[in-house]
């Protein structure tokens, strides 16, 4: 098996659209959650959301943007930032050994727009050329492939809120198995109300409207639901030996990827599913649970989901576990992007020597097994990190990454 290095990262999130801004926000425990007035007008139960406000998309032409929804454009920004950090030129990735895998499970707004146009005009003629490419679930990778001109793997992976985690895991597997040298991977998520209305209908979003920054409270006793969010995360994974030979900056190494499914319920996670993914990732990494010094948790701030993750974490780590924080108290739930964003966030923590806090964790939930939750930032970077993500239907991804600190 080949070793897999992380040589570049990029992020567009509600905390910022460049790495240094996001890194500072993570360290300070800042929130990117706001109230969206349009959601109030539309009759949402909860108008709380993350928002992207400062992403410069001018590097794409109007023609290029025509086939790209906003989240694919954010993915391009994140991917190009990651490639720049990795020091890979356009020429170096234009070959069959370089590929793309992104997590994405919908492109809702474009699908709505095309049907709106059809119903309004009662003919397809005026729909134009862009919407077909914007509305497909594979829109990120199909567009990035034409822009970056990689010639290897090119597909998007759909597994609800673990899409980004599985995308990074599968990218690592392709490199570990010797089938690709470089895979630009990640996840992206749209934020518009159209894509969130049916989720809002489940009553799964926090109703703590008067205090948006305190709304998302992973693992806290007073948690009352998640806050939807989005953006894009891009990661360059690369054959370790190749990266070392060319003198690339090696941020860390993907040691293990575990996957599992619950085989139980649509929306209630099981007590064992995620722990099986974690154990698989640890086994592939060749390490035992006590060697993990930080868990970047999935916990979204829902009563059932956070409880299930705590039970699963306790199955793996018992009472003496590592530091745990869910970053969703700051960034909200980035859905399809979440599992990939965690790798970027953890890389930033390792680079700057801190563990980001689990914002809004005020009071332990007496029903939960005990966890060592970082209430404030820890002044020591994580070395061996486990990142969890879990999605509707009970699909779980776990990644073990070792950073160079």
């Amino acid at each position: 098996m080949q070793r897999v290095a992380i040589t570049g990262i990029g992020i567009v999130s509600c905390l910022g659209s460049d790495l240094s801004t996001v890194e500072k926000a993570l360290q300070e425990g800042r929130s990117g959650i706001v109230v969206d007035p349009r959601r109030i007008e539309l009759g949402f139960r909860s108008p709380l959301t993350g928002t992207i406000s400062d992403c410069d998309l001018s590097l794409l032409s109007r023609k290029q943007r025509k086939s790209m929804p906003d989240f694919a454009q954010w993915a391009y920004v994140a991917a190009t930032d990651a490639l720049k950090m990795a020091g890979l030129s356009a020429e170096e990735i234009r070959n069959p050994r370089c590929g793309l895998i992104f997590g994405c499970d919908s492109s809702c707004l474009a699908a709505v727009e095309q049907v709106d146009q059809l119903r309004r005009a009662e003919e397809t003629h005026g729909i134009g050329s862009g919407l077909i490419f914007r509305s497909m679930t594979s829109t990120i990778t199909m567009n990035l492939n034409t822009l970056l001109q990689t010639q290897g793997a090119c597909w998007s992976l759909s597994s609800a809120c673990s899409s980004g985690g599985h995308a990074v895991g599968q990218a690592a597997e392709l490199i570990a198995g010797g089938r690709q040298d470089v895979v630009i991977c990640g996840g992206a998520q749209e934020i518009n109300p159209e894509s969130m209305c049916s989720f809002d209908a489940l009553g799964a979003f926090s109703a703590r409207i008067t205090d948006p920054e305190a709304a998302c409270r992973p693992f806290d006793r007073g948690r009352d639901g998640l806050v939807p969010s989005g953006g894009a995360a891009g990661i360059v994974l690369e054959n370790f030996d190749r990266a070392r030979r060319r003198g690339a900056p090696i941020l860390g190494e993907v040691l293990g990827y575990g996957f599992s499914s619950d085989g139980e319920a649509l929306s209630v996670p099981s007590r064992t599913g995620l722990s099986r993914a974690m154990q698989m990732a640890l086994a592939q990494a060749g390490i035992s649970a006590p060697q993990v010094d930080y868990v970047c948790a999935h916990a979204t701030s829902t009563p059932a989901g956070d409880f299930a993750e705590a039970v699963n974490l306790h199955r793996v780590f018992s009472d003496d576990g590592p530091w745990v924080s869910s970053l969703k108290g700051m960034v909200g739930h980035e859905l399809w992007m979440a599992g990939a964003a965690q790798i970027v966030y953890a890389s930033l923590m390792a680079r700057s020597g801190f563990i980001a806090p689990n914002r809004n964790y005020a009071e332990p939930d007496p029903e939960m097994p005990p966890l060592r939750i970082a209430r404030t930032a820890i002044d020591r970077g994580p070395r061996t990190v486990l990142c969890n993500s879990a999605g509707f239907g009970g699909t779980n991804a776990a990644l073990v990454v070792r950073f160079r600190v």
Binding site: S61, R62, K63, K66, H125, G126, G128, S129, G130
Partner: protein, 85 residues
């Protein structure tokens, strides 16, 4: 609109839709070779011209045969005058 105004609006519409340099918009310029438009752009060109002039362009075979900007000018002028009369 005079013919010159129609031509100016066609050029402006296409420049905006496809981010073209107005300096290149002379009648002899070829759409697909020199302006580097493709078959997807042709779909959007029809939609943009229909919206700009409130006309309907449904002769797809004729559109497919058009190669130069001057031919677009002539075709839209023909449609525009037919609508005006």
């Amino acid at each position: 609109m005079t013919d010159q105004e129609v031509i100016a609006l066609i050029n402006r519409t296409l420049c905006e839709e496809f981010e073209l340099d107005p300096e290149t918009m002379h009648p002899g310029v070829t759409l697909y070779d020199e302006l580097e438009l493709d078959s997807l752009d042709a779909v959007d060109m029809v939609v943009a011209l229909e919206q700009a002039f409130q006309i309907r362009i449904r002769e797809e075979e004729r559109m497919r045969q058009i190669r130069t900007l001057g031919e677009i000018h002539a075709y839209v002028l023909e449609k525009y005058h037919a609508l005006a009369s």
